[in-house]
């Protein structure tokens, strides 16, 4: 953190009374923000607070309804991103805009290739990219194909792309959403380096830790308005959270003691699973879940979580071992039969595996149980019953939607997740597999989903929780199983351990830390 006071520094970007009105929503209302040269600014807000709209206005994707933008003191409203880029703005979207089959260099120069006429001077391009990556400490192989890079490195390419176009202001939209903890650390050090070289960075986020960890200053947005501005060093997380949601939130839901039944509802014995490339990714894994407890699987992404989940649901064959549900061997059962046995599944990627976005909420809720009453009689579907059931669940789970016949794709991320929870939790499960239930959601939704999961625990459902967020594991789990390279390396009790210790085992530590 620099000790220069903000007022002494040069203002590089300023918005005055930006208003952006969409047909039904006022997305930004009189937003005034100031960005100083060489600072890291956070824009904090829940999903739907208007952060992305504001950035899209800055970047020329949207025209503001009214208001002014000043770049270096000169009025500047861009009519397209192209113009914004020319004026020194760069944006890294949450979903990367890279061509998978091209190399790093080719992606970076795409659209502004060096060279005369139709010829591209690849040698020069490669040199420029190399030099740029050296200068900013963004190590990367300029000849690597994008499809072979990890998500973190792809993000790095996006940043280089912006810098190659001489960006002085870099906007990062939810930059850590897709990164592993290590990649987040690397990103932060890159961002700090950029600050040193005079680049101003705006980070759009809804994660409080991130604001605290990286930014100099933070604006808090709520319902399209600036709710407050704080120097990060002078504010604590609770205050930020209150500003963000407009009410006091308990960051961790209260987990009341609850006695689990001794007889396990679900067991995995010596499970082996291979991935698509036929490489063993789950090795000799055993676990058991008892009714009324939440078992948390902690681990860094890519240590076999998704394959384990798929094997449990019968979406991927087990290459060895057994799975037992209520005393019966279900290792070779089809997904359909497992669902019928009251096993519920909340998948990590809700848009790909959880919902059919083009189908209605009612259809999505019925899916899986569409072949039995009340959803169907004989071969015929009963849309009236499906709709009634969906209406009930919409009320019960507080799903914000105009109705049950709205396509699931029209809902926000948090409400989409609630549709999935409504479907799985309303089927009276005995065992629930919950994977990454709050990924990408805002504080309010996280709190709600956590309390629903604990509600299932109270109803003596056995819950297996797979999460990459340690905080989530600590908030919910009665037992923590640490997954490393496809095997459970340690079982811990949350009350008797801490995040540091779990993190140590997650990253392959074998001796007991301190």
């Amino acid at each position: 953190m620099t000790d220069q006071t903000a007022s002494m520094r040069k203002v590089i970007l300023e918005t005055r009374d930006i208003v952006k009105r969409f047909p039904k929503v006022l997305a930004n209302e009189n937003v005034n923000i100031t960005l100083y040269e060489g600072e890291i600014l956070s824009l904090l807000g829940e999903n739907g607070a208007g952060k992305s709209t504001l950035m899209n206005v800055l970047y020329g994707l949207y025209k503001p309804t009214s208001g002014e933008i000043f770049l270096n003191g000169v009025p500047a409203i861009f009519s397209s991103p192209k113009e914004a880029i020319r004026m020194g703005l760069g944006m890294v979207h949450q979903h990367f805009m890279l061509v998978d089959t091209l190399t790093v260099t080719e992606n970076i120069i795409l659209g502004s290739e060096p060279g005369a006429g139709v010829q591209i001077d690849y040698k020069q391009a490669r040199r420029q990219v190399k030099e740029l990556s050296d200068r900013h400490g963004l190590k990367i192989d300029p000849d690597a194909k994008i499809e072979n890079l990890s998500v973190g490195l792809q993000q790095r390419v996006e940043i280089l792309k912006a810098l190659y176009r001489k960006a002085r202001i870099l906007i990062l939209d939810e930059p850590t959403a897709v990164l592993t903890p290590q990649e987040v650390e690397e990103l932060f050090s890159v961002v700090r380096d950029l600050r040193k070289s005079g680049v101003s960075v705006i980070i759009i986020t809804h994660k409080l830790e991130e604001v605290k960890a990286i930014s100099d200053r933070v604006y808090i947005l709520r319902r399209g308005r600036i709710e407050g501005e704080r120097i990060t060093a002078e504010v604590n997380k609770e205050e930020l959270a209150n500003l963000m949601v407009g009410r006091s939130v308990v960051l961790t839901v209260h987990r009341e003691p609850h006695e689990a039944h001794p007889e396990p509802v679900f067991e995995v014995e010596n499970l082996h699973v291979v991935d698509d490339r036929n490489i063993a990714v789950v090795k000799n894994l055993s676990l058991e879940v008892r009714p009324g407890e939440v078992v948390g699987i902690a681990g860094v992404d890519g240590n076999g979580q998704s394959e384990l989940a798929e094997a449990i649901m019968g979406l991927r064959p087990a290459s060895g071992g057994r799975m037992i549900h209520l005393g019966d061997d279900i290792t070779n059962l089809r997904t359909k039969d497992r669902i019928a046995r009251s096993i519920g599944y909340v998948p990590a990627d809700r848009q790909r595996y959880g919902l059919i976005l083009s189908m209605t909420i009612a259809e999505n809720i019925a899916m899986g149980y569409h072949d039995r009453p009340p959803n169907s009689h004989g071969w015929q579907l009963d849309y009236t019953a499906m709709e009634e059931q969906a209406d009930d669940l919409i009320t019960q789970f507080d799903i914000r939607t105009p109705g049950a016949l709205v396509p699931a794709g029209h809902l926000s991320g948090g409400n989409q997740q609630k549709v999935i929870l409504a479907r799985e939790f309303s089927r009276k499960p005995t065992f629930l597999l919950v994977s990454q239930p709050t990924r990408g959601l805002d504080v309010g939704a996280i709190e709600y989903i956590h309390s629903e999961i604990l509600g299932m625990r109270r109803k003596d459902v056995g819950v297996l929780l797979i999460s990459l967020e340690l905080e989530e594991i600590f908030a919910l789990a009665d037992r923590i199983l640490v997954l490393y390279e496809g095997a459970i390396v340690r079982e811990l009790i949350p009350e008797k351990t801490n995040e540091r210790e779990v993190g140590f085992f997650m990253t392959g530590g074998t001796e007991k830390a301190s």
């Binding site: 929503v25 997904t335 359909k336 790909r352 189908m359 071969w379 809902l411």
Partner: protein, 421 residues
């Protein structure tokens, strides 16, 4: 309340009766020795519309009525706009190449809608079947591009059964339709198996089998009566038993054209059945789920392979019925070079209908009218028939482009939504 329900039920009954009677009359309409008959059937259909609107008003109120009208106008508006624009462009082309668009289009519509209306209807019937075939496959995310092949299998099977089954008409016709359909469906087992087991793309496999089926037909014809050395009709089978003929319209509408057969009515009934299957049954639900997001469907226990099988077999069955329709309804024998391209044109009508089974009925009729009218136009005004193909191409382009607009619109809306929510 009770009274309301009764009136609504009566209204619905009236709408169904008027709609059915009107449609049958209109479809059977013809011009016979200068006298036109049964075209008034269209007014019977029109009369049913206010009754239906009244029922909606009674049951759901004026708000719902207004939204229904707006929705209908919107859904019909874009295709109609596309057709009008295509006709204008075609007219400009005619002007540029030295034909009079007014007389040419006059002839086209007089021919297609009045003079040769029965040919339009005859054209539409097989198109409805192949269009439905492609639409069903679309619902599962599959492209049954080889409908032409299943059409040939259906036609061959119908000819074979028609030459061998000599039973009372009602039984044998049902048997012919079902067995020929099943055999055509079986033609798609190999593509379905390959798709499920190896992931081989159905566009390639069904297309290859379409050519196979097509070149099987000369062999079949030689075996059943076609004899190049002696016969006066070397490239055609013997005529099937008359009990296997679809009844013609003039058996109940005396003034109807003698060639016009009831295949169009079967086609419409099948379209309604397919609509029911897709939107109201478990099977349809699973097919749609797999078509729209197979990963999510699978995670909820819906088998992807089973539904690929179902969709491709149903598609084969429907395309096969198109062949049955031609053999039992129109030709009563199998010609070697049908050259009808109903399989390929089915792709156009299915696309034009946006994959809607009910929509396929209307787009098939439009295609049928353009074909029949185009022939009439070229015969009477010497305007080349190719202009009709160009107009069809432009319509298809504009309407498929509509989906591009819709897609773009959705995309922009979603982007906006993403940034708001």
């Amino acid at each position: 309340m009770k009274k309301k329900q009764t009136i609504a039920a009566v209204l619905l009954g009236a709408v169904i009766v008027l709609g059915t009677v009107g449609s049958v009359l209109w479809l059977g309409a013809t011009v016979k020795s200068g006298q036109s008959s049964y075209f008034w059937g269209i007014w019977v259909i029109v009369a049913a519309i206010p009754l239906y609107l009244w029922r909606v008003l009674l049951l759901n109120g004026s708000e719902e009525l207004r939204s229904l009208v707006v929705r209908s106008i919107r859904s019909v508006g874009v295709p109609i706009a596309g057709i009008v624009i295509a006709i204008v462009i075609g007219g400009i082309l005619m002007l540029l190449t030295g034909y009079n668009p007014i007389t040419a289009y006059g002839a086209l519509f007089y021919g297609g809608l009045v003079r040769n209306w029965h040919i339009s209807v005859l054209n539409a019937a097989p198109l409805i079947f192949t269009g439905l075939s492609i639409a069903v496959a679309f619902k599962a995310g599959l492209f049954n591009i080889g409908a032409e092949g299943q059409y040939y299998i259906g036609a061959m099977a119908a000819a074979w059964l028609g030459l061998n089954l000599n039973l009372p008409a009602v039984i044998t016709l049902v048997l012919v339709f079902v067995i020929a359909g099943v055999l055509a469906a079986a033609w798609n087992i190999v593509p379905a198996l390959l798709k499920v087991r190896t992931g081989a793309h159905e566009v390639i496999t069904t297309m290859m089998l379409a050519h196979t089926a097509r070149y099987l037909s000369p062999i079949f014809i030689r075996a059943y009566g076609g004899d190049p050395s002696t016969s006066t009709h070397p490239y055609v089978t013997d005529e099937i038993f008359p009990t296997n003929w679809l009844p013609s319209f003039d058996s109940f509408l005396p003034n109807a054209n003698y060639r016009l057969h009831t295949g169009i009515l079967v086609a419409i009934v099948v379209a309604i059945a397919v609509n029911y299957l897709i939107y109201q049954t478990k099977i349809g639900f699973e097919i749609r789920a797999v078509g729209q997001n197979k990963d999510a469907a699978r995670a909820q226990g819906i088998s992807i392979g089973r539904n690929i099988f179902r969709a491709l077999l149903i598609a084969g069955f429907l395309a096969g019925l198109a062949g049955v329709n031609q053999v039992t309804g129109l030709d009563h024998k199998l010609f070697e070079n049908l050259n009808a391209n109903y399989g390929w044109n089915g792709i156009s009508v299915a696309l034009l209908a946006g994959g809607s089974p009910i929509g396929v009925i209307f787009t098939s009729l439009i295609w049928g009218i353009l074909d029949a009218g185009g022939q009439f136009m070229s015969r009477t005004t010497q305007t080349p028939n190719a202009i009709v193909e160009i107009v069809k191409g432009i319509i298809l382009f504009l309407v498929v482009a509509k989906y591009i607009y819709v897609y773009l619109g959705e995309w922009i809306k979603n982007r906006r939504k993403r940034s708001i929510v």
